[in-house]
């Protein structure tokens, strides 16, 4: 089984459009949308959700006002400025504690009143889930529940399963969620003898990207011929090298700046990157997205032809690599 992850560094270079087409061209594969906090693949691949499961992320600390002695130990120990002391407002106290907490939720500002002792609250957005306050609270007044941070899906598409997710609003642990999606995909691939997993990665180089690339056989970098695209491509290539993945690259909207496209090809040549092709700017890419279809399903235009060529190249690169490994 082979694993290919599509990444870019810079956002908006066309990762999802390319992935949707590759997932349409591959006869038997699992496709994963690992851009869990801004997932788009489901908008462009016709699918039917078969299974839903909630995603349990990290823990969050929450102070039980009835037990709290207002000693301030939690505020002193927290390294994430998540605890604050707020004026003891009678309206808030008369509410049940859950509602009182919502009033302070997400304001992000630390309100400290020194003249008289207020109550302590934990901002759930700032809480890192480290449990330090929970451990050191002398009154055992802080609960530490595992949070439901989103939903995971297994869907059916024309040529294999799609595994995707939706991270809750302002929730964390995107790296953990990506790892779980990939683990699920691997289990399914082995069980159902599916030869390939294609992952649509998130932008950037941070934790969900690392989780998308680790242990993948190869990455396909989708870049664009701009100064920003080239800057970010170089960083993401360095990351792929650290993680021992083979690196393939294609240039999207290549004709918008042909000189820059040539520079990228030179970079590939000098850095051991297999060049998988150029995709021209083509309105059909946006039109296919608007129609909710992959580009290769929707159009026979120049970009569609170019993406098919990229797929053929990627396939042959991967076969060569497999030969070398075995």
């Amino acid at each position: 089984m082979k694993e290919l992850t599509v990444i870019s560094g810079k956002g908006g270079t066309g990762k999802t459009s390319v992935t949707a087409s590759l997932a349409t061209l591959a006869p038997n594969r699992i496709v994963i949308d690992a851009d869990v906090d801004a997932a788009n693949l489901f908008l462009t691949l016709e699918h039917e959700v078969l299974e839903k499961e909630s995603f349990e992320g990290g823990h969050k600390a929450m102070i039980d006002e009835a037990l709290c002695t207002r000693c301030g130990e939690c505020l002193e120990r927290c390294q994430f400025d998540a605890v604050s002391e707020v004026p003891d407002n009678h309206d808030a106290v008369s509410n049940i504690s859950g509602e009182a907490d919502t009033a302070s939720k997400g304001s992000g500002t630390v309100h400290t009143v020194s003249d008289k002792s207020g109550k302590f609250v934990i901002d759930p957005v700032s809480c890192e889930g480290c449990g330090v306050c929970v451990h050191f609270c002398p009154a055992d007044a802080i609960s530490f529940e595992r949070q439901i941070c989103g939903e995971k899906y297994i869907s059916k598409t024309a040529n294999g399963p799609m595994i995707h997710a939706r991270l809750g609003i302002a929730e964390e642990n995107s790296g953990l969620l990506v790892s779980q999606l990939r683990q699920k995909a691997k289990e399914m691939a082995i069980k159902e003898k599916i030869p390939m997993i294609i992952t649509d990665g998130p932008p950037g180089i941070g934790c969900p990207v690392i989780a998308s690339v680790s242990n993948a056989d190869a990455v396909l970098i989708v870049t664009e011929p701009t100064q920003s695209g080239m800057h970010d491509m170089a960083r993401v290539k360095k990351l792929a090298d650290q993680m021992n993945a083979a690196v393939y690259l294609c240039v999207n909207k290549a004709d918008l700046n042909p000189e820059a496209t040539d520079e990228i090809k030179k970079f590939c040549h000098e850095n051991g990157i297999s060049f998988a092709g150029e995709i021209p700017f083509d309105r059909d890419v946006i039109e296919s997205m608007k129609a909710g279809k992959s580009l290769v399903t929707f159009s026979q235009g120049p970009a569609s032809v170019a993406v098919k060529n990229v797929w053929q190249n990627v396939l042959s690169f991967m076969e060569k690599r497999m030969d070398r490994l075995t």
Binding site: G12, Q79, F136, E224, P225, L239
Partner: protein, 307 residues
């Protein structure tokens, strides 16, 4: 005042809007912060000079093996599997550490000392126009960007006017950047991906209590559009904004020329007079929105000028 430029979806034009707005603003009181520390790009356009670089690191535990009595309290407390008792030895996994210092606090022997893991760099410089740019660059291989973003934001001078370029997405890095902003400009594009991610970001901003306006990029409707049945109209963002009661601050047409100018790292306000006009209008609109916010919330303003 802190104005943050965000989007949800990547590549909609956040950086383009940030750097061109900065270039059009009166320079005496402006600072630009690039909080897309995973892939910062503002410096490509603003071209700061005399750049200073500072290494930013975070605390990780280093165990003094002489003092450690292998009690395992640190492992019990650590939520991130960053310290563990394995085969009679205490081991640390620095890349997993979130720097909560819990292990050091709980250790009865005082055996845990402070080490460091490099997160990346904090860079700053000023360009020929006088614009000050401060940005972070995450070390390749480092997973956690929020602590570095926090460091970048600590440089915000509340007496000055700040434009902050946010990372894409709607999770931790975007939230760390957006919180405490006085106003957020959401740059979107009239595509299903653009709308989907815009709506997610609007929900985040509601949770953070940050007032918002929308900029539509590549909003051109004059290009031939598809006649395919069921195809989405180019007005999807307008319809969404109306439903949500969010003001559309400006629309930028799709332009191959603009794409070409930007691809070279040049500013649209320098190269294209028609774009300069649109950015000037956008700048004026933002200023009047900020005036309204100041009037509504004078306490916050006083707080800002005092510190």
């Amino acid at each position: 005042m802190i104005v943050t430029i965000a989007s949800g979806k990547g590549g909609t034009g956040k950086t383009t809007v940030t750097v061109n707005l900065a270039a059009i603003a009166p320079v005496s009181d402006i600072q630009v912060f690039d909080c897309d520390v995973e892939e910062p790009n503002s410096h490509i356009y603003l071209k700061p000079e005399n750049i200073t670089t500072q290494e930013i690191s975070t605390m990780i535990p280093v165990v003094d093996k002489e003092l450690c009595n292998l009690c395992g309290e640190c492992e019990k407390l650590c939520q991130f599997s960053a310290i563990a008792l394995i085969a009679g030895k205490i081991m640390t996994f620095p890349e997993m550490c979130h720097s909560c210092r819990g292990c050091a606090m709980v250790c009865p022997e005082g055996a845990i000392n402070e080490g460091k893991r490099v997160l990346g760099s904090l860079l700053e410089g000023k360009n020929q126009r006088g614009i000050e740019l401060i940005w972070g660059e995450l070390r390749v291989g480092e997973a956690m960007s929020p602590p570095l973003i926090k460091q970048v934001k600590q440089r915000i001078n509340p007496e000055k006017f700040s434009f902050v370029d946010a990372p894409p997405g709607t999770s931790c890095p975007a939230i760390e950047t957006l919180r405490d902003s006085d106003f957020a400009i959401l740059v979107s594009e009239p595509t299903p991906f653009g709308l989907n991610d815009l709506a997610l970001t609007v929900e985040v901003l509601k949770k953070l209590n940050v007032p918002t306006g929308i900029v539509i990029n590549r909003a051109d409707t004059s290009e031939p559009t598809s006649s395919v049945q069921g195809s989405m109209p180019d007005t999807i963002i307008d319809e969404y904004a109306e439903k949500e009661g969010i003001e559309i601050l400006q629309k930028f047409p799709f332009s191959r020329e603009a794409a070409r100018v930007s691809s070279k790292g040049l500013l649209l306000v320098d190269e294209m007079p028609e774009m300069k006009k649109l950015f000037q209008e956008l700048y004026d609109k933002i200023m009047s929105r900020l005036d309204a916010i100041k009037e509504k919330n004078p306490a916050k303003q006083a707080e800002g000028t005092m510190s």
